[in-house]
Symmetry: C2
Subunit: 291 residues, 2 copies
């Protein structure tokens, strides 16, 4: 990581944070805020989502995204979609207009066309960095998490608005060189993405298979609702204990109905940022301080 | 429902029950037992899974299945797969041999070929009953749950073996006339299928979108683990209160680590059966007694 690259990442995080916060400051909904923030990160080439999505085994880009609104537990998710410029927009259209929660692959793309969701050709999704990562993975015939340096590139946002509504959104390109239509936790309500006005909103990044098996996002909500834990205690148990025991590297961002914010991770770093109406503002990559 | 048809359904349930129980009686694992039971139901033409899977909007069959083992929270799921004779076998192969949890669509079918999973052509999946249901749905341009008489046809099994290991499996053809690659709760660990040796094993059937948003199967596990509820109390809250409030019609089968069995549903009926080493044995369709 060079200082220049670090500054680029921080710039991308700050732009996403500003996009989401601007919505909230103007009195907008948490749903609009998380969509706005994720959209900026999908358009930013360094994150593993939208434009910067990793290559799959055949040189394409299969993306997953989800969005969830805590007021009525509304949720929408797109799995394994190609050529969609902003999968988070498709997830929201699925939530609001499909009558379903999860749509997959070519079928989801057909639905996207009917909803006038923007498509892009393969050239749009080409980034030199991702191409090199794919070539290296191809050479060794391995499927790998999106960052060899253990900072995952899946993007997500959580927000609480002035009406007290929580929302979460997540978007990812998944694993480099992935085969067989693999889908991780990101688009799965309860696993990589969850929002419930009674408890919290959560968006995860990390080794998706383990996050799926641990139903991570909903686990945090249940620890709060059924065990009476604080957001921090719930996050600590899930990220530093349960996930570590099962080998689940990664982290998450979470906000509760009181506006408490947690951004725990058990990996070397996690690109993250937060801003609250009470003046807290952070843009970070590494551990400061250690958990 | 004619007496003849009812007898056929009961025969199918009994055959599945016997297949699973035979495995357990011989000292086999709960994982083998749930796979054996679901396999019988996938081959049985009246249930909405495998051979009897409903038609999608273009006259095909897109099936979903999952399996989960409570010992280590291992899970495997196939979403939107066509021409797979027994999707539960594919789900298990995904769990044991893919390094992933969820595989979708054509990619999952490629993986199935490598694992020598049996394929069948369209003719195998043709049943007159499902074809008629599809034609009716097509005429009115609606997507419908698999039974207009409100007894859902998704199949599932849960089991506890003598080692104390819990397992769950679910398999479905989804909704008649479905479009856009719709996937419900069945193949999603935590939503339609879940197993955890600390708590319970659960398999759901019903309106998948609502079950997904409520993360139903894991919710029951969390109510037991974090709130100390019995399996019965956890099931009652989720099926008769939480799901009803959100409009989520359906039910589930569940067994806990002590061998307690619950089969609650808020629909008119639910095809169900159970057998325990202590002598309980039931094969039922309607409410007896009312919840």
């Amino acid at each position: 990581m060079t200082p220049e690259l670090q500054a680029q990442y921080e710039g991308g995080l700050k732009a996403a944070l500003d996009a989401g916060y601007t919505v909230l400051e103007a009195g907008g909904s948490s749903l609009d805020a998380v969509e706005a923030a994720v959209l900026v990160m999908e358009d930013f080439p360094l994150f593993n989502a939208g434009k910067g999505a990793v290559f799959n085994n055949v040189g394409g880009h299969e993306m997953d995204a989800a969005i969830m609104f805590g007021l009525g537990l509304e949720a929408g998710a797109a799995c394994g979609v190609s050529h969609i410029k902003n999968p988070v927009k498709l997830a929201r259209a699925i939530m609001e207009h499909s009558g379903h929660v999860i749509l997959c692959g070519a079928g989801a793309e057909q639905f996207a066309k009917r909803q006038n969701i923007a498509f892009e050709d393969d050239a749009y999704f080409y980034t030199e960095q991702r191409y090199k990562q794919w070539q290296e993975a191809l050479k060794e015939d391995r499927v790998q998490l999106d960052h060899s340096d253990k900072k995952f590139g899946t993007v997500g946002a959580v927000a609480l608005d002035k009406e007290g509504n929580l929302a979460a959104a997540t978007s990812t390109g998944g694993m480099t060189n992935k085969k067989f239509g693999r889908v991780g936790d990101s688009p799965v309500p309860g696993a990589g993405t969850y929002a419930n006005n009674n408890t919290c909103a959560v968006s995860c990044t990390g080794h998706g298979e383990l996050f799926l098996r641990c139903v991570v996002a909903y686990d945090i909500s249940c620890l709060m609702e059924y065990k009476g834990l604080s957001l921090k205690d719930a996050c600590d148990i899930v990220v530093y204990d349960k996930l570590v025991k099962i080998g689940g590297e990664g982290g998450l961002i979470a906000i509760d109905k009181l506006g408490n914010i947690e951004m725990p991770f058990n990996s070397d770093g996690m690109y993250r940022a937060c801003r609250s109406s009470e003046g807290r503002m952070e843009v970070k990559i590494y551990k400061t301080p250690s958990p």
